[in-house]
Structure formats: structure tokens, C-alpha cells
Subunit: 347 residues, 2 copies
């Protein structure tokens, strides 16, 4: 299978390897006749460019890495779509890895990016315990752009959303229509800055209204299960059930609503639900879901643009840090509580 190489093409075309390389990358530097000749030889011999060799020679991969929690969450899938859009013209190959919210997997992925000498890495969040590796990537000339949040480290590039403010907005709304006892079903706490910021927003929102924080009202789910059943069971068995539930994702909200309905609890008449992400089907649910719309694709698109525009000495420039707006979308899954005092019913 000994494939045809630049050397062989050169020989067959009666030119040097350098010229063949130029035909590939800077054809304008080559005399037209030479160009034609070389291209013809390539065609006739079915020459296949060897990216591995080229990348190796340049000491830097032409590929870019993307690290997301999981493609199964449609919000991250959208980010992936945005990334692909940005990468479209100069179609850089894309390495995609998923952490499944496990810091050690994320670490392995980062390590791979390093060993591959990738052109850059996009991360939809990252575990603080891996900050050292991220720094090492940057130190080795591999730029990282953090998506979906604004990392504490001010030296990191990012295109994020304000998770804190987004949740404050949602809670302000729930407060404004009369709720006082609000539960939250959030993502994994330990491995996600996003969840930490969201939790803080929840606590501050309560505090700003003089409502004491009740840990029984806050549930953290693992990454993969639709936790409706368990969440609802726990929340309804409380001495005083919540009148509203803030869910960390629309999928979570859906499973909570389903479980609630199964128990004869009406949404939003008995309990209000608010989601997060604004999944594409959320407007079509019954009731249509009130949610926080996140510019998932846009984050990906902009993050990749950042990466592609970054100069070689990006390390010496101030990092680009962008925070995109979210939009609170009011639909019909939230309503005032039956009375101002608490649970509409006893379970």
C-alpha cells in the first residue's frame, strides 16, 4: 500500500518537494505551468495529502478540541452545532470528548489535548481541580476558551452566560407572582461551577427577601437520570411542600412535571415549575414551560471564533471574556400559589 508522497510527486513532475508543498499551500508562488503539471501528477497518481505528517512537521495539530459534559444534553449539542458553524469555512477537524461530569475524565481529555498539540480547546465548563492542567495547556501554546460560565481565574478566555443572574431573574419572577417556598433541583454540585453559582443565586435571592435557607428544598441530581420521581417524592413528603420548583434543566423540569401529574398534582395550579435551557420542545409541552433561554449555539460559535482569531502570542494579551445574555421566557408553567402562605395541599 506504499502510498504516494510529496517526494514522489515531485520526482514525477520533475520539480522539488518544496515546490509541490507550495502548490498545496501557496499556489500563487508557483508558476502556472508548474502548478498545472504538479496537479496533474497528483491527480493521475491519486495523491492523498498526509495531515499527520504535515501537523507533525509544523509541530502543531490543525485540529481543535471540544470538551463537553455530554452530547446527550441538547443544550450542549447546540453548542456543538455552533462550534461547527464557526469552523465551517476553514473546516478544522474537531476532537470531541465528554466528561460526563467526572473530573478525572475531564483530566484525561485535557491530557490528550496536550499530547496531541491541538490548535486550541473549547470547554463547556471545567472542574476547578483541573485548573492546573488548563494552565499547562496555555503554557504550551494551546489556547483554551471556557464556555457556559465565567471562570474565577481572570486569565482564562471565556464566552459564558451569567448563571448567577439568570437564576436570580427566575427566582425574582417566582417571588413576584407570590411564591415564598421555592424548591430547586440542580445539577451535580461538586463538579460544576455552574451549579455552584446557581446555588449561590438561589441562596442570595432568598436572603434578599428575608427568607431562611432550607436545605431540604434543594436537591442535586446526578448527571444522567431524569430525577423527577425521586425529587418529587422528597419534596412532597416535606412537612411543608414547596409552591414552586426551579429546575436546573428543562429535561429535569419535564420529568418533575410528569411525576407531579402522575400524582394528581396540577401544574401550574398546584405547583409552579420553571426550567433552564429552553429546550426546543419546551414551548410544545403541556403546559408550555417557563424557562431560561440560553444562547447555547452562539456560545459555541463565538468561542470558536475567539480561538481561530487568537494570535500565536495569545498568552501575552489580556484574555477575552464575554458574557452573553440569557432571556427569561415566560410561558404557562408558573402561576401564583393558591395562597400566600405555603403549600396548596398536604401530600
Amino acid at each position: 500500500m506504499s502510498s504516494i508522497t510529496v517526494q514522489k510527486v515531485a520526482k514525477l513532475a520533475g520539480v522539488s518537494a518544496a515546490t509541490v508543498s507550495r502548490c498545496l499551500h501557496s499556489p500563487h508562488l508557483v508558476r502556472e505551468a508548474t502548478l498545472q503539471k504538479v496537479r496533474q501528477v497528483m491527480r493521475e497518481n491519486n495523491y492523498i495529502y498526509n495531515i499527520m505528517a504535515a501537523d507533525f512537521s509544523r509541530r502543531r495539530s490543525s485540529a481543535v478540541g471540544v470538551i463537553i459534559p455530554t452530547p446527550a444534553a441538547s443544550a450542549f449539542a447546540q453548542t456543538l452545532v455552533g462550534i461547527q458553524e464557526a469552523t465551517f469555512e476553514r473546516n478544522a477537524p474537531l476532537f470531541v470528548g465528554s466528561t460526563h461530569y467526572r473530573p478525572e475524565l475531564e483530566r484525561g481529555l485535557l491530557r490528550q489535548c496536550l499530547e496531541h498539540r491541538l490548535g486550541g480547546v473549547l470547554m463547556a465548563g471545567f472542574d476547578p481541580s483541573n485548573a492546573d492542567l488548563v494552565r499547562e495547556l496555555q503554557a504550551n501554546g494551546i489556547a483554551c476558551v471556557i464556555l457556559w460560565e465565567k471562570p474565577d481565574d481572570p486569565l482564562l478566555h471565556c464566552v459564558g452566560i451569567d448563571n448567577y443572574q439568570s437564576v436570580r431573574n427566575a427566582l425574582d419572577y417566582l417571588f413576584s407572582i407570590g411564591h415564598r417556598r421555592i424548591a430547586a433541583v440542580l445539577g451535580p454540585l461538586e463538579t460544576s461551577n455552574r451549579t455552584r453559582h446557581r446555588l449561590q443565586a438561589y441562596r442570595d435571592a432568598l436572603e434578599s427577601r428575608g427568607i431562611p435557607y432550607d436545605p431540604e428544598l434543594v436537591l442535586f441530581k446526578g448527571p444522567f437520570l431524569l430525577p423527577g420521581k425521586e425529587a418529587v417524592t422528597r419534596l412532597l413528603s416535606l412537612r411543608e411542600a414547596p409552591t414552586a420548583i426551579f429546575a436546573g434543566s428543562d429535561l429535569t423540569a419535564v420529568s418533575i412535571i410528569s411525576e407531579l401529574k402522575g400524582r394528581g398534582v396540577r401544574v401550574p395550579e398546584d405547583i409552579s415549575i420553571c426550567g433552564f435551557d429552553d429546550n426546543e420542545v419546551s414551548a410544545y409541552l403541556t403546559p408550555p414551560l417557563t424557562s431560561v433561554r440560553v444562547p447555547s449555539a452562539k456560545m459555541g460559535r463565538l468561542g470558536m471564533s475567539f480561538l481561530l482569531e487568537l494570535p500565536a502570542d495569545f498568552d501575552r494579551l489580556p484574555p477575552r471574556r464575554l458574557l452573553l445574555d440569557t432571556e427569561f421566557v415566560i410561558r404557562r408553567s408558573c402561576a401564583p400559589p393558591v395562597d400566600g402562605t405555603g403549600a396548596p395541599f398536604q401530600s
Copy 2:
């Protein structure tokens, strides 16, 4: 930034480069003391393995490629999850590209896989016009496994589903509860074998019942829009509206239902809807959606296993071709038509 190489580690540890390489890949061939020494030097100097160089030297990339229409479709996202599961232990880096149902993009992606000398490629379907390139990949030692369908070419490996039979099942069900005038809203026809097979199933199902094929009842959508509005407009303006609609995906079904509801048409009382894919939220919709459950993740998992197990001379072996079962899931979006004769109402 001149990084530390195997050569330098060798020098520092007082051994040869070959020995250092052995420490990396076959430590059992190295004397314990040597091993320790080398590892220590690596640690102390923060050695970073250079995958590019290694792959280049081996003349084959350690990475694997995945080509899907789009990660935005949750069914393909699930396939991606399955692939990552299979790839977990030997965590081969994953190149992910999306065709967005455009043959020329698919072609570009395939070309990239070739130029990268990837270890193998998984494709969630492929456009027949690119069959030549797929063959060229195989000829160059890059195995391809087709997912989501059984390609006509009997030499291609695959882990698919029987799109034809799946649709026959769905239509048989609709017939069995009394429908005779059934519309179909399918994916892009030209670029997808899947859609072709599904259309054939639709036509054969009608024919087997002696029902003439009415092209007005069959709509093909572009890849990206939720086509509910247009589809419903066209179907309801027919002289005789359908009593049931088969949708090529649950997302399509959702948008059709939404549009129908907006016009005061009840589902399933006035019109029945059947989806395809069994999206994770479909059971939670109102009404819960009857759909064809597809083993999306399993296809990915098995396909990747195939790829990883394939011997170097896979070309000389008979291809592995597997067809996975789909499951018809009956929920509540389909009901008998109001009468046996046709439209329940005039629009």
C-alpha cells in the same frame, strides 16, 4: 518552549530512546530499575508524550472518526454517547464531523478522514454518491462501519436498523385501528437512504391494502426546520385531509401536534400522530407520543466495538452486518378515526 522529547529523557536517564519508548508501551520488557529511573526523569522534566509524532511514525492515527448528520438531533446525539461508551477504556480520540445532510460536506469529511489516516470511521448513514470515497477509505486500510441503516453495498460493515420494517410496523398499526388516509412527513429524500427506505415502506404498506399512493400526502422536510406549520397547512388544505400522520422524527411530530392544536384540531381525536426515534421527552408530551423506539446508543456502541475489534486485514474478511430491532411504542397520540371514510372535518 522547546519541549522535552524521548531523546532527551533517554539522555537524562542514561538509556536509549528505544528503551524510553518501551517504558511507555511495553514496560514489562524493561528492567524494573530502568523503568523507575526513566519514569522519574519523565516526571521531573514534565515530559509530554507527542501523539502526533507517534501516530506519524506508526503511519496510522490512533483517532477514530464519526460522521453524523447533526448532533442537534437527539437520536444522533445518543449514538454519539454510545460510541463514547465503547471507546471508554481504550479512549481513542474521537473526530466528530457533521454533514447536515449535505453530500458535499460528507465528502469533505470523508476526505479528511482519509488524509488523517484515521484508525476507522463510523458513519450514521451516508450518501450513495460518496460510495466511491468510502471504498477508497477501505482500500487504504481505514475501516468504515455504517450506522442507522443497512447499505445496499454488501461489502460494507454496518450496525443498522430496518427502516423499512419499522415503518411498515407503524403503518400496520395505523391501519389496524382503522386509518386509511395516512400522511407521511419524512426527512430529506435525496440525501438519505433511510428516507428512501421509509418511503418505500409507506408505499408498499398502502399497496398491500389496495390503497392508491397519493403524492400529496407525502411531504419531505429540510433537515433543520420544525416543519409543523407548513406540513399542517398543506395537509389540511387538501380536498380530503388525512386522519393520521406518520412523522419521520419525534421532533417533527411535536411541531405538527403543536400546529394542529393551534388550529383547534385535537390529537388524537381528530387526527392521529405517530413519531419516530422515541425521543426521551416523548413519553411526557400531551398526549404521550406513539413512536418507533430506535436503539440509537446501542448502534453507536456496537459499531465502535466492531471497529475496535477489526483485524488489520479486515478487507479480506466477510463484512459484519447487523440489524438491530426497533420497538413500536404505543402511547396515546393515535386513536381510531372518527369514521372509516376519511376526514373528520373540513378545514
